[in-house]
């Protein structure tokens, strides 16, 4: 039944991502869900390791929801070919910023959840 939890979480995650892009715009919406999703996956993995979250819960929240809410492909395509009026070059600063922010959020959520749940 793991596949069903992954599918439900994936559907929810894609809907959240699309909603964020329509609410905040394609760039800010993608960055928002990528940041939130990094935190959600960090918390889910820490909860799984601590025995607080069962495997079906991780399949739903971690693999499905957080995995599908966040997107690598959209980020790199938008970095190479920034959306919006006018043609300009790749948005390197966004890539660096989002990589640093994503790593910090993932580390902080893993570390803080592991301490809280220990």
């Amino acid at each position: 039944m793991t596949w069903a939890w992954v599918a439900v979480g994936g559907a929810m995650g894609a809907l959240v991502r699309d909603g964020a892009a329509r609410w905040r715009g394609p760039v800010a919406g993608t960055d928002l869900v990528n940041r939130v999703g990094a935190v959600v996956l960090g918390l889910a993995l820490a909860a799984l390791d601590a025995g607080v979250l069962a495997r079906p819960g991780h399949a739903l929240v971690g693999i499905g929801l957080a995995g599908a809410m966040t997107t690598f492909s959209t980020l790199v395509v938008q970095v190479v070919d920034p959306p919006g009026p006018g043609r300009r070059g790749p948005d390197w600063s966004r890539l660096v910023r989002e990589t640093v922010v994503g790593l910090v959020l993932a580390a902080a959520s893993l570390w803080s959840a592991a301490r809280l749940l220990a």
Partner: protein, 141 residues
């Protein structure tokens, strides 16, 4: 910039058609990513995420200027490809590999460098040519 076609307004699609296409694509994309993870389980090296992210970046680049805002296109671009690739797994895996910093940095650099190169290649190969007709895709998301 959001277009009328991009919002689904002014099209024959019902109010629930776009969310249904996104949800279906998202479910399939997440299942494909999970299936790849099960099939490519390599201890200590997140090969499945790397393969999913690199291949998804190439395909999204390839189709992003080609496909319009039809429901199948939205389901593929926003739903399936968006959910098949994952940013959260990448950053969490890099943090998880922190005890092996060379591997962690190598994984991050190969993911980002490879993803950017393949997205650029896909965009180049998928760019509409004269006579192809309107490529109605909105902003990539």
């Amino acid at each position: 910039m959001e277009t009328a076609a991009g919002t689904g307004r002014g099209t024959s699609a019902g109010a629930w058609s776009r969310p249904a296409a996104v949800a279906l694509g998202g479910a399939l994309g997440a299942l494909a990513r999970w299936g790849l993870d099960v099939a490519m389980a390599i201890e200590g090296w997140p090969a499945a995420t790397l393969v999913a992210n690199l291949s998804g970046a190439f395909v999204l680049g390839l189709v992003s200027r080609r496909l319009g805002d039809s429901l199948p296109a939205v389901g593929l671009r926003v739903g399936l490809l968006g959910a098949f690739t994952t940013w959260s797994s990448l950053v969490v895996q890099v943090v998880d590999l922190g005890e092996r910093p060379v591997v962690a940095i190598g994984y991050l650099l190969v993911s980002l460098g490879g993803g950017l190169a393949l997205a650029a290649l896909g965009l180049r190969l998928g760019a509409p040519r004269p006579g192809d007709g309107p490529a109605g895709a909105g902003p990539v998301r």
